[in-house]
Structure formats: structure tokens, C-alpha cells
Symmetry: C2
Subunit: 497 residues, 2 copies
């Protein structure tokens, strides 16, 4: 039976993915510097093996034959997802994939060097090459999938997301935010005037910060029999669902950055740990995609951990782990002022709940134009500056390092990925509102550190659904409506207005 | 060119081995308990892939064709070693390998359970099955290699080792030891009477013990850009030459067990780190085998770290890391009395330099008889007891758990492996004597913590030779003579007489 062949193949791919995931986590957390070259060889070999195994012609035959086999409804969903993954993996010619990978690797290396030197002129030709390949890729994917080119790129990260649905949502949000940002800054200034912001003063020993993070992970439902917390230069959540490898990075002068990072990654980890274990070898059993994954981390970070209810519970935990002096004289409002600061800034990854979406919308608009051919790389610095001034009131025209050279995504050839960040924030807010309406006592539960109800809802409606449905279908089934920007807007008004 | 094909294959196998080695080290040091099942699947997949890749028929064709290609002398040595490995890996039918693996896995599981219950009767039938398969295997290997059956088993662990050479050496040693052991115990009793043994009193914090171990590793030449020290339940030296994963296990009431363990594993690690890096993808570039590997760990543990010169240097390092109280009032002789205790005991892994070889010789004799068919499993408890009484003056007749059920080797089907432990000890002593004769100031160097000369000799004569020669040839080239038990005997007389 071909469906059984696909299951056997799935188990092989799971074994390869397991090796890659653990080797990669080990590389970031444990590997001595001299181990890098052979590690890279080993991981590259495994990636090659994975691609070869997953895209073999016989897989296409099994997919076709399984179509006419007698399958349960669940197996039909599983087969559909397997075919989707196969089509996405095989729709580019092998020769093109090699050419693209080489160009992207060179461009990313060049970017690392030239961003540090703020050298746009030196970098632009490499980016032009990457954009040309991305346009080619988008067209080939579009042809294979019957989608518009940019939609075909988004499809890799969030199946079912289309510009026709996403653009109006982000436009509504943009219109609101451009207007709201000055108001939020004024409101913040008034709050700060009425109540001067406090700041923590360390040193906070790393061992104690680690214990604090572990306590909160535990309370939030992280399963330590299936995961652990380590340290790495760039925090991540990796590993596999049965062995989730989460990391953070500590500084001793303050603890909130690391703690909020731990809470964010815990959101990713809960999703992975909550996926249906019996399906872990099939595409249908894996996390839905980038926007949904981000919605799970942002649910914990933004909806839970930036709320006053959460800190009613969390402040004593901080005192237990870091000592009574850590937040001596603070009340919940002081914590809110500290963790929910709004600021106009150039850097996406440093942005807050209010400004972050504007950084994303800027990139979403520009990359559509780049892929569509209505914008050329040569014109990118001005186009970027133009939008930055309009959306955030800041200029990057003399500072391309913090303008179009800011992120690794484009140099590495990842177009269609940026919107997922903000869609994740919107989806998190929409999930929160659904749960809040179903469970009126939710703020009280959070204030007691009881996350069982939110986790139960998310387990049933998100985690256990894995990749049974497209991103928009999953959201609609979970919350009863399509993506609704007003919910996030209400959230911002409540918190920052 | 077929030799180039073999090199490309070697790189693939190196990548697979890399993944297996790091996944296994991670499993023992970092993996949460719930990650075990999927980890086992992933590692089993990689082992299967490795075997399939290494034993493919085309490899045999390349080996045959490369034979007539124009090769350098080094390439000829490399080709010979590649063929040896290939023959050893392909001389058993796949069906037999599967049957054997299953029987051994069941037997090992049963052994873990029944050894704890001291249940020989329950375990014996499983061991009978394993022995029957080992006899079959030995015969098949013997036919393929043109060797006697037991020699063909030893060949897997130490290429070139033969009973005809090994047995006389171990017989000489046995004759000496049976006589020497009571003398050594008397001499020890006299030393203890003249100078009552001291004992350390903790607690010794683990972080400080770790720093102590790291200091000594560093001084001995461990390269921390290509390796690290972690904690695991059973200490090991794993990983790959560019990323050696060493472990130890600490107790807080004393520090010498962990420290001696670290020193032993450092010996293994130096060998791996010292292998010729440019050949790491070829069989010829890998460690020679089990006895030579053990000779490198025992060189550090027995020849260096159980000597008074070493402790002249090491005692201040202990004080620096654990505090002046750690060995307050001790002198080097007290340390010697503590680390070089001799004792009649039932357990091989707890034995000392004097008694350990007797445990090995007992097993070497019994397993030759088992493989040769002159001893049956049913008669093993009595045969074991008989030899234990003769060699060590102890009986195990009522205690099979500490008799023929003591070790995992036989339940897991590893016959021909035991002699390597003691051959390693003898080879270490023989290397030491060669170095000592070449460098008269050696004790003085050791007493100053200067290991550069011993490492330089070992790098040139052992590490960089990798698998260019058989085990006996490597020893003869390095020390100028074949394995000579008198050197180890002299060593024991000096230290314990």
C-alpha cells in the first residue's frame, strides 16, 4: 500500500530531521570552535540526504497511487499535506536550487561583512542577483502551484496565506498605527510623568536567572522530560517535539530581557511539545507554519507575559529566585511601564508591540514590489527611507546598514517570510480574545499562575491540529472568524492608549 | 579513479559517523529522558545507513579497481586498510547479522534484569544462544579472513593480534601475578603499618573538581578548541577528533575517583585529537584499535598519573583548585598509597594494576574455550569459580552475578574483546620504557608538569600513525620489539613490590 510506503518514508525523514535538529542545537550550545568545519560537512550531508530522500521520483508515484487507496478522513488530510510538501520541494529544478543556494550563501557572507561597514554600494550587486533569482523562483513556484508569484513565496511559510487577504488586514493596521503611535507616545509620556519609570539594578547572578526562567517554564507547562534550557548567542527554540532545545542569553545587569526571551521561546516550545505525537513522522503532524508558530510564542510573550495579571503572579516568583531586592518597591504598574515601553526606532528586532508591525509592513510592501518588478534594488534605499519617514518618522537614507541591509532575510533569499511575524501577533491576539470570551475568569487564573485553561484551549484548537488545515482555515476553525485586525488594534488601545 | 571514489565514500561515512558520535554523546550528557525513543530511532537509522553505504557492492568494485591504479605508498596503506574494514564488514550474511543483533539485544536486556536478581539459571539459555551465534560468526569470519576462529574475532578489535602471540605473553604474566599478588599485599600491609593510610574528607564542590580536571586536561595537552568535558553516568570519551566529548562523574565526598577517571579519558582524547586530520575520512586515518586506544588512556592513567613524579607536580594543582585543606598534611607517598591500592576483589572494573590482568586472563581463557567448543555455558559458573579461586583466591560459585554474569560483553555478543584491556596496559608500559630510555630526564619533566616530550613521542609514533600498521607492527615500529610482558612485570615490581 502506497500510503504505508509514505509512512515508512516519513519515519526515515523524521530520523534525518532529528539528527539535523540535535546537531544544530548542539552546535549553538556546546560545540567547541574547532568542531565547526566537520560539523558543517555532516549537517550538509544530512540536508542533502533529506532532500534526495524526500524528492525521489518514487515518492511522486506513491502519492499518486495513495490517492485511489481506501483512506480514513485523517489519512486523506495527511496525504494532501504530504503532496503539498512534495510539490513545494520538487517544483524547482535541481540545477536552479544549487545555483540559488550558492548565490544566497555568497550574498549572506558578503552581507555580514559589508553591513558592518555600512557599504550599500558594495552589497547592492549581490542583492540584485538574489532578487533576480527570487523572481525566477517565484514564477516557477507560481506556475507549479497555480498562484500569483508573491503568494507562491508566502505559501512556503504559511500555506493558504494570500496577498488578497493579508494586504487589506495589514493596511487597516498600518492606517491605525501611523495615527496611533504619536498618541501612544504621548500617553506613555503622561504615565511616566505621573509615575517615574523605575529600573532594575543588578548584578543578577546567571544561576539565579536560570532558576527563575525554569520556574516560569514549568508553570507555563513546559515538559522537562521532553526538553531543556541552554545558553546560546542567539536565543532559539530548536530540537524535536520529544526533545525541545530552548536557549536564552543572560546579562547580569538586568534580568527582564532574558526572562521575556525565555517566555517567548517557551511559547514556541509548548507548540512543539503539544503536537500530536503519533503523527510526528508525517508532514500533517508537524507545526503548521511560521505565522502560527509565532502566534504561539507571541501568545505567551504578548498576551500573557506583558499583562498585569501575569505579573501579579510573577513578581513573587522573581523575588523567590532573585531575592526581594530585585523588584523592591515596584508594583505591577512599574513592571508594565518597564516591559511595555514604546519607542520609535530603526531596528525591527528591538521594536515593541506598537512599532513592530510598521517595520514588517514596510518590508512586506517593498518585497512585493521587488518580486513584482516594480522596484529595483538600486532604488531600495530611497524607497525604504521614504516609508520609514512616513510610518515611523525616522530616516535611514545615510544609514543603509540599519535600512535595507538591516536583516539577514533578503541577503539569504527569504522573500515572503516577513509578514508572518506580524500575522503571528494578530493571530495571538485573536486566539486570546476567543479564549477570554469562553472563560470569563481568565485574568484571575493568570494572576494565580494557572495556565491550564489557556493551554487546554490551545492544545485542542492549535497544537493538536498540527498541519491538518491551511493557516487561515486553522485560525477560522479555532476562533470562528477570519483574520481580524481590529482585535489586535483593540489590544493595543487597551494597553498603550 | 576508484581511489577517489573511495575517498568520496569515506567523506560520506565520516559525516554519518560524526552525526552518530555527537548524537550519542548528547544522549548521555544532555538528552531529557523522554527524548530516548526518537533518538534511538534516529541513531538506528544512521547505523543502518552507514552499514548500507559502507558495504554496497560498488565499494568492492572500487577496491578491486583501485588495486591496479597508480598509488603512492601512503595510498597503498590506506587502500589495504579500507579493504580490511570492508572485508570485516561484509563477511557475514545480512540475514545472520540481523538474527545476531536481535539475539544479542534480547540477551543484553535479559542480562540487565537477571544480573540484578543473581539469576544464572534464567539467563543461561539466552547466553547459550549468543554463544552459538558467536561460534558461527567466528567460523564465518575465520573462513573469510583465513584465520583461526578466535583470532578472527580478535581481529575486529586489534588487527594482527593472534592467540599464538598473545597467549604466551598473558601466560607469563599470569604465572608472575599469581605468585606476586600475595607478595604485593604483604608489602602493602608493611607500608600501611609503617605509615597509616590517609583519606580525604570532603565535601569537594563539583564546580571546583571540574576546574581541577580542566586544569589537568589542559596541562596534559587536551585541546579545548577541539573538545569539551561534560558529566554522564558512565564516563566515556566520545565525539569525533575535531570535537572530542569527554565525560566524568563526580561525588562530593572524595575527588580522586573522578580525577583519575578524567586523566584516563584524557589519554583516549589525546589520541583522537592527535590523529592525522587530513586522513580523518579514511579508515587508515582512524585510531588503530581497542588495545592501542587503551594503551593511550592507560599511559596517562598508569604510567603518568599513578607515579610519584606526577603527583609532585599535581599536589599543588589540587590545592589551587580544591583549597589547601584538600590534601593537608599529605605527601606524595600518601597519595601513592591512596591511588595505588591493591586488593583481591570480584569485580573487574574495580580492580587495580596488579589484579586487573588476572580478571582479563580468566575471561580470555574461558572465551577461547567457549568459542572453541571445549566449554559449554552450563559449565561456566564452575569454570569461572575454579579460575577465580586459583588466580585471586576468591569464590563466585554462589554469586554468578559477580561471576560469569558480571560484564555486559558476553551477553552483548562481544567475544575477543577482553584481552585488549590488558594488552593496552602492557603496551602502555612498553611505550613508557621506550620514552624513558630515550629521555633520561623524563621523571623530572613530569614532576614539573611538562608533558611535551612524552606527547611529542606519542604523536610521532602512535597518534600520527593512525591505522597504517597492524597492532603488533605499530608496537614494534614504536618500541623496537614485540609485546614484552617483562616490562609490565618490572613496572609492577617497582611500584608494588
Amino acid at each position: 500500500m502506497s500510503y504505508a510506503d509514505l509512512e515508512a518514508l516519513g519515519r526515515q525523514l523524521e530520523s534525518i530531521d532529528h539528527a539535523i535538529a540535535i546537531l544544530s542545537a548542539d552546535e549553538a550550545t556546546n560545540m567547541p570552535v574547532g568542531g565547526g568545519e566537520k560539523r558543517a560537512e555532516s549537517v550538509a550531508f544530512l540536508y542533502g540526504l533529506r532532500h534526495e530522500t524526500a524528492t525521489a521520483p518514487k515518492v511522486g508515484e506513491w502519492l499518486a497511487k495513495a490517492q485511489s487507496e481506501e483512506l480514513s478522513e485523517d489519512q486523506k488530510l495527511s496525504l494532501r499535506e504530504f503532496r503539498r510538501v512534495y510539490t513545494n520541494a520538487t517544483c524547482l529544478p535541481a540545477d536552479f536550487v544549487r545555483r540559488k543556494a550558492q548565490a544566497e550563501m555568497r550574498s549572506e557572507q558578503l552581507w555580514r561583512d559589508l553591513r558592518a561597514k555600512n557599504d550599500w554600494a558594495g552589497f547592492a550587486p549581490a542583492l540584485e542577483g538574489v532578487v533576480a533569482l527570487a523572481r525566477e523562483e517565484a514564477q516557477m513556484r507560481a506556475d507549479a502551484l497555480g498562484l500569483a508569484p508573491y503568494d507562491a513565496l508566502m505559501e512556503q511559510y504559511d500555506p493558504g496565506n494570500r496577498v488578497a487577504d493579508v494586504a487589506p488586514v495589514l493596511n487597516t493596521l498600518k492606517t491605525f498605527l501611523v495615527d496611533f503611535l504619536p498618541q501612544a507616545l504621548d500617553a506613555q509620556a503622561r504615565r511616566h510623568a505621573a509615575r517615574p519609570p523605575k529600573s532594575v539594578s543588578g548584578p543578577f547572578p546567571i544561576a539565579q536567572q536560570r532558576e527563575l526562567g525554569l520556574s516560569m517554564m514549568q508553570a507555563l507547562g513546559f515538559d522537562f522530560t521532553h526538553g531543556r534550557l541552554d545558553v546560546s548567542h542567539h536565543p532559539f527554540c530548536g530540537g524535536v517535539p520529544t526533545d525541545v532545545r530552548m536557549t536564552t542569553r543572560y546579562r547580569t545587569d538586568e534580568f527582564l530581557t532574558a526572562l521575556m526571551g525565555v517566555l517567548h521561546e517557551t511559547g514556541h516550545a509548548l507548540y512543539e511539545q503539544g503536537l500530536p505525537r503519533a503523527l510526528s513522522h508525517m508532514p500533517v503532524g508537524q507545526a503548521r507554519g511560521m505565522a502560527i508558530h509565532e502566534s504561539q510564542s507571541l501568545f505567551v510573550e504578548q498576551q500573557l507575559a506583558r499583562s498585569p495579571h501575569f505579573w501579579t503572579w510573577a513578581m513573587p516568583i522573581v523575588a523567590t529566585n532573585l531575592g526581594d531586592d530585585a523588584l523592591a518597591g515596584w508594583d505591577v504598574e512599574d513592571v508594565m511601564a518597564e516591559v511595555n515601553k514604546v519607542e520609535r526606532g530603526l531596528i525591527r528586532v528591538d521594536a515593541d508591540e506598537v512599532t513592530y508591525p510598521l517595520h514588517i509592513i514596510l518590508r512586506f510592501e517593498l518585497e512585493q514590489a521587488l518580486i513584482g518588478g516594480t522596484l529595483e534594488v538600486a532604488d531600495l534605499p530611497e524607497a525604504w527611507d521614504d516609508k520609514m519617514r512616513t510610518y515611523l518618522g525616522l530616516s535611514t537614507i545615510d544609514n543603509p546598514a540599519d535600512g535595507p541591509m538591516q536583516d539577514v532575510h533578503w541577503p539569504a533569499g527569504a522573500f515572503g517570510y516577513f509578514p508572518s511575524y506580524t500575522l503571528g501577533a494578530l493571530i495571538a491576539a485573536q486566539q486570546w480574545r476567543t479564549i477570554e470570551q469562553a472563560l470569563p475568569d481568565l485574568p484571575g487564573q493568570i494572576a494565580q499562575g494557572d495556565f491550564s485553561a489557556v493551554n487546554a484551549w490551545r492544545r485542542d484548537n492549535i497544537w493538536q491540529q498540527a498541519s491538518r488545515y491551511s493557516t487561515p482555515d486553522l485560525l477560522r476553525r479555532a476562533t470562528g472568524e477570519t483574520l481580524n485586525p481590529d482585535i489586535y488594534i483593540e489590544h493595543l488601545k487597551r494597553r498603550y492608549g
